[in-house]
């Protein structure tokens, strides 16, 4: 299934090295003979459709949104108010709660799905029926966020399956009105999204585990390493590259979390479980505070971009961002 020109799986090392040694890139190759074909501008038409779509429908609205955040705008009239929207953010208790919830989402979706993914991947590695177990845990990943949310809504309502289960095993005291009180509504939703997101991490870690050379493991075994020591000194370092990716993806996705919360609580009750992603939607499209909503969106964007930029800097040294 691998394309003929793609190097075989074992050959990832030479590719890495090529980046450092000043060899020809495909780009330079075209330059050598490209003069005959009309020079640098001949390439523009190829990039133009992408630029037009992204430019008109994403980049322009982005800057329009930044601009709009300096206005008091209710959808009908707007007036320039400078940084007022941002000053209001600082005093808004709902914004504070929203930031707190967003932090809980980031922390929760970093800890739970990444740790669970790592543990399950290590436990199922080279195990009989390990593949089957992995497949079952990955299945929810193939289900959409909205469908997952609908299912968990059914599980978490006050007479839902979770409370039934707790009563069934005699833990009546643990039953909760899961979605009606803060902070357990946010925590419950983090658990629900863990159920969905862990599978992907299991798969990524499993790929990483398979890439650890057998000789390394065998050599460590000969030296008497096993169990925890093996995990600590061989497995974890071997998974470093994958971990960076998994964590990076988890940060970005948790900051953007919307479907689950919108369907399960709509940010309620009384906006207690809102995250930044939800606050923006409610302010803009329910309360028609368009400028204020844009300010929230910009704060969210700054956080997302800052974290993913730091992550990409490590991941993609060949795009020219890592050096400067």
């Amino acid at each position: 299934m691998t394309g003929t020109a793609t190097p075989a799986h074992g050959a990832t090392k030479p590719v890495r090295i090529r980046r450092r040694v000043p060899a020809r890139t495909p780009h330079q190759a075209a330059k050598a003979g490209g003069g005959r074909l009309g020079g640098p501008l001949a390439a523009l038409p190829w990039a133009l459709p992408a630029f037009a779509l992204v430019g008109v429908l994403l980049v322009y609205p982005f800057f329009r949104s930044v601009y709009g955040s300096f206005f008091e705008d209710n959808g009908f009239t707007s007036s320039f108010t400078g940084l007022d929207n941002y000053a209001r953010l600082a005093d808004d208790p709902i914004f504070g709660r929203s930031v707190l919830n967003t932090l809980m989402w980031v922390a929760g979706t970093l800890l739970l799905p990444v740790l669970a993914g790592l543990l399950i991947a290590v436990a199922t590695h080279r195990m009989r029926f390990g593949g089957v177990a992995q497949l079952i845990i990955v299945l929810p990943f193939a289900i959409s966020g909205a469908a997952t949310a609908v299912l968990w809504n059914f599980m978490l309502t006050s007479d839902g399956a979770v409370n039934q289960m707790l009563r069934g095993v005699g833990l009546d005291g643990w039953t909760q009105t899961w979605l009606l009180e803060w902070p357990q509504n946010t925590l419950a939703m983090i658990v629900a999204s863990t159920w969905q997101a862990t599978g992907l991490n299991v798969v990524l870690f499993a790929i990483g585990l398979r890439a650890i050379p057998r000789e390394t493991v065998e050599a460590a075994e000969l030296d008497g390493a096993s169990g925890w020591r093996m995990f600590r000194h061989i497995t974890l370092p071997g998974l470093r590259a994958v971990t960076v990716v998994v964590v990076g993806m988890a940060i970005v996705n948790s900051l953007k979390a919307f479907d689950m919360i919108w369907i399960l609580t709509k940010g309620g009750p009384s906006r207690s479980s809102e995250t930044l992603a939800l606050s923006m939607y409610r302010e803009t499209f329910r309360l028609f505070h368009v400028g204020y909503g844009s300010a929230i969106a910009l704060v969210l964007s700054v956080i997302v971009v800052a974290s993913s930029w730091m992550y990409l800097r490590r991941q993609m040294p060949d795009t020219g961002t890592g050096k400067s």
Binding site: A30, V59, A147, F154, W262, M280, V290, A297, W309
Partner: protein
Amino acid sequence: MGRAVRNLFVAGCVVLWLIPLYLLVVNALTPAAEYAGKPEWTVQGFDLWQNVRTAWDVAGIGDSFRASLLYAVVCGLVAVLVAAMAAFAVVVLPIPRPAFWFWLIYSGTLFPLQMFLAPLFGLYADADLYDTRLGLMLVYAAWAVPFAFFLIRNQMTTLSPELTEAALIDGASFGRIFWRIHVPLMKAGLGAAFIFQFTAVWNDLLLGITLSRSPDVQPVMAALTTLNNAYSSTGPPVILAGALIVSVPTLLLFLVFRGLFLRGITASAR
């Protein structure tokens, strides 16, 4: 002790992950009229088709299903083609400042959707695109391009430059080089990107609820949300049957093209 603990741990996880799926199926099977107001743990009859039909017709999931299928297929294909062309320009062709173009196009994935919503809504209202299929298709295509571009670009950098050089010396045009060399060689990568973007468009909720309203324009996740809000009148079996139907395409894609799916992820993970 290691082995026993490990087996127990894995078995426990599998059970934990299966319980919600099991409840989903069992309660989607339960006849809506006989639903007792509490989740059923045993099969109470087989009324799946009736529940599916209710969700499909009465709640209007069917219309949205067709609309979403259109969006996901068309926008996935358009996005992959447009992204492959852009990747070709940035990686292979002598475009000035490839890093600038890369970041310009890739920036579309970095920002949260919320950042685009309010101006898009205004833009769409002005251009009469609000609540039209064309409008949603445009924004889905634009939204799918950046990540497809990222995946395809990463794979294209692994193709050897000699291929292009040889073709150039033979006098082939850029168009010929793209269609005869890069597209065939990248078939698997393009497929992975398509599956990824199909899934992303299919699963979108936020753009759908912001930019559309009518049932035959609304994407399927928005329709499922509407159905979920009408909880009391339809009952959980119908809602869960709806959740089952909307999961079928992505689930099938995942099970059939698992290899491609994972290659897509690992390509982005490198």
